[in-house]
Symmetry: C2
Subunit: 146 residues, 2 copies
């Protein structure tokens, strides 16, 4: 039997969407906190929102996958830094995540720019979170830092 | 011009996938912490992993959407509680999230079971995170608590 693992998370809510609030929690216990509609649609509040969680999940999965691909080719990276930008917008069929932009910078001895970009492209196409996110377009910028 | 907002998250990594580690951060500042491959594939570690972030994002978006649908029908919920279970498994084409199970329980005066289940089904089909997650099957169990 192949590898199979189940991860858990919880969400609660009380009241209307606009005036109520809820709580979000990771099954691991690593995070638990409130969320509100206002914090979701107004930038700058230090309150978690589902869109940045999608961004963190994708950035994390993608970055670990790049490290894995470089390591298997004999060159574990000294450092990888990735930013994900998740775009939520009103479309003809309601609110939708239309685009996620990944921007990754690597430091990896023995790896040239072409090999780094190829590993990043492969990670973007094959990491489990990227495959799960079949809805939005996922763009990628990848570069090595000298 | 319609509503459009960009949310940010960051991920870093250093070393091999199996022995290195990285950090994940939400743009809002609500969460920042380490992640490792071991914590991702071994259950029970109090360390964040991308799969539970996907679960929290979906549970949060879905639950807020149920609250919105019930409120627009005149019955804001007293309480909604949702659990998401995210299944990661090895498939013929590599690791994939094959299934996410949502389980939601509501307390909402003036709402009968059929109306509650209908609102939950609609939220599952239309909330932005569910639409973005076109990869895995998303199942739903919804019930009212008397």
């Amino acid at each position: 039997m192949g590898f199979r693992i189940t991860r858990k998370a919880t969400a609660s809510w009380s009241g209307t969407a606009s005036e109520g609030q809820g709580r979000l929690g990771f099954g691991s216990g690593a995070f638990e906190g409130i969320y509100t509609e206002k914090a979701r649609v107004v930038d700058g509040e230090p309150i978690a929102n589902p869109e940045e969680m999608i961004g963190a999940a994708l950035a994390g999965c993608f970055t670990m996958s790049v490290a894995d691909l470089l390591s298997k080719a004999g060159n574990p990276p000294q450092q990888l830094d990735t930013t994900a930008r998740v775009v939520l917008e009103q479309t003809d069929t309601g609110f939708a995540i239309t685009r996620i932009e990944l921007d990754t910078v690597g430091q990896a001895e023995g790896v040239d720019e072409a090999a780094f970009v190829a590993a990043a492209e492969q990670a973007r196409a094959t990491c489990p979170i990227a495959k799960a996110l079949a809805g939005p377009q996922i763009t990628l910028q990848a570069r090595l830092q000298s």
